[in-house]
Symmetry: C2
Subunit: 386 residues, 2 copies
């Protein structure tokens, strides 16, 4: 196990009928709030009304900032920052999934500085303070509700970049699994794929070969995510399945599994970010395309962990490269079973575009210091996605 510092002060309120806590919890942080949300779905399904009732009931003044899209846009964040400044808001409330929460995080940091918020993403400026943020989660996927990460797409430059800072951790996140009852099958599956990708980035990129606590925790989460996703695809109103999926997705990226792993990388996300930046495909869909290809390339270089994955997650009995490859195939088969794409062509992306995708990914590889990835290697992985 490697040395680490762990500090995650996000308060989680989990369970049915917890949305009513958002008002009182937020009132302790500020009276005038910016309410960040996505498109019309939360108005259709009644979540918006519940949240506003709780906020208004706690005496808060609400400034709306709806319209966040998936693969959220820098321009919309900039507009939110303007609104936050003009209205001198004291706190931000996010109601949605990772895209909404990430937009709210970017606003919470950008509203307190003079420079453009994209400077944080380019690594030119550091975050030193943020407005307090509370969240009501509506999608089990990104894990942003309990971590200090955010990802944004600059539509002008077609770059999808991320930043991590402890100050971006929400103060409070409300996780009510019933709010995900109406998430359609495709986005339910994409969310599960995203959570699995978060776990496997850690699991396979750590260079520490002695992390039994973390390994078993991660293997258990992958198993639970697959099982619970299967349950809710059969019955979208299965509360236990929705609850297990929601909590697992949060744990996949809240720092608990990563503590002790030492340096890890996000190479699968690095490549996927180019797919969603260039083609605006769902993040989870991009990940299920990249993951098996990346895993097969890596398993040839470092088979041990992939063998363990096959043995422990898919109960395979082998102890060789065939076991590693069979484990990867089982995961790929599961992606297919939940109808998440596993090839570029299924997402309508032509093989001729590979050099352009690789070029775009390379920019992120440099920022994320994934030094072992040059254009050729990225192209090789992308070729294996065909």
């Amino acid at each position: 196990m490697q040395s680490f510092v762990l500090y995650n002060p996000t308060k989680i309120i989990f369970g049915t009928d917890t949305v009513k806590e958002i008002g009182p919890e937020t009132a302790a942080l500020g009276r005038k709030i910016l309410l960040v949300f996505g498109k019309s779905s939360i108005k259709r399904n009644g979540i918006y009304e519940q949240v506003v009732a709780s906020l208004a009931g706690a005496g808060l003044e609400i400034i709306d900032h709806g319209g966040v899209v998936s693969n959220p846009h820098l321009s919309h964040v900039r507009a939110g920052i303007d609104k936050a400044r003009k209205n001198a808001v004291q706190a931000i409330v996010a109601v949605g999934g990772g895209s909404v929460i990430d937009s709210a995080k970017a606003i919470s940091a950008g509203a307190l500085v003079d420079h453009d918020v994209w400077q944080f993403f380019k690594g030119k400026k550091s975050i030193r303070k943020t407005l307090p943020l509370t969240c009501v989660l509506t999608l089990a996927a990104a894990g942003s509700e309990m971590n200090g990460g955010m990802v944004l797409t600059n539509e002008e430059t077609r770059q999808k970049f991320g930043v991590g800072n402890r100050l971006l951790c929400p103060k409070v996140s409300i996780l009510d699994p019933t709010l995900t009852f109406t998430v359609p099958p495709d986005y339910t599956a994409f969310g599960a794929v995203d959570a699995i990708a978060h776990i496997l980035e850690f699991y396979f990129t750590t260079r520490d070969q002695s992390t039994p606590v973390q390994d078993r925790f991660m293997e258990g989460l992958v198993l639970t995510i697959m099982e619970s996703c299967d349950r809710v695809l059969r019955d979208p109103l299965d509360y236990q399945g929705r609850a297990d999926l929601m909590w697992s997705a949060t744990l996949a990226l809240n720092g608990w599994t990563a503590a002790g792993l030492g340096m890890v990388g996000f190479p699968m996300h690095m490549i996927e970010h180019s797919l969603s930046a260039l083609y605006n495909i769902a993040h989870g869909a991009g990940l299920s395309i990249v993951m098996p290809a990346w895993m097969r390339c890596q398993a040839r270089l470092r088979p041990a962990k992939f063998i363990q994955f096959g043995q422990r997650v898919f109960a395979l009995s082998g102890n060789d490269e065939a076991c590693a490859m069979e484990g990867i195939k089982r995961l790929e088969d599961w992606f297919i079973s939940v109808k998440s794409p596993t090839t570029l062509s299924q997402a309508g992306i032509a093989a001729e575009d590979i050099p352009v995708i690789a070029e775009n990914a390379l920019a992120l590889a440099k920022i994320w210091r994934l030094n072992e990835y040059n254009k050729d290697i990225i192209m090789e992985i992308l070729a294996a996605c065909c």
Copy 2:
């Protein structure tokens, strides 16, 4: 999964050479501190010197309060409270294992009230504020370094009682596995037993039968604790083994595994507290006596979880009561292998004392609201410890 609120704001600094952080971390909380520690061992092995050097280097004024014993005494806590008040200390620093940290927690709460600190333990008063606490952990066992629990023994009344309150969570805990290199084999094993007991109290007392995330996390921890304890008993200087054991013991009782389990109880601790209150045996030693007996009694009433335990932790293939019983036997065999006692007689406790022990335990059963435990049931479990 049941609804829950999770909020654990303890900052963990884990790894070699981290003791030097105690000064700067504590300086942010107060300038005049009470330094709580145990007997002479930390002076012999140099830990005391390292801690004082860091504290003094950060400009802190130190008031010593050494002499905490295992199964820590109320009288020593009362003396610490007097010292803290007289010197108007602003923060507490604990250097030791669970006994020291629990004493420091009791002082941190008791120093700020007019009434006697034991009122908190009798449930007569609630904790509303505490002095900030930082810790340097020297024993992998109790988990007190990352939770809001504390246990104290009233020597006059021979009662060993516990209290939980979020305000008791340490602000910062330093976990340097090398500090446990000198822990002797018996206390290493007792610590491992204690951590396993914490996990199994949750695992077996939850009434929720659908907690896959938590179950797998707990099963992984039990496996890791047994493996890492075996490693360090073979080689006390095995860093990875010490690190895995230390982190697992912290995770066993920091709220992460319990989130979502709903109501749980501590029946094995309830009975063990009487053993250590009446006979002053090591807490872990008492637990390895009580655990197999309690588990066998429970497995007859509710076999399902015990079967799962046998299957997943000991890779047993059965699916019936025999599998449950074999799993319990394997755990008992492991206790024997690490030389932790498994019968009352091994701890020098006579079977004739059982009614007295049960009477003492019953008082705690009432306070902890373990309503299904009457004197007969406790005596039956104790009889199975012979």
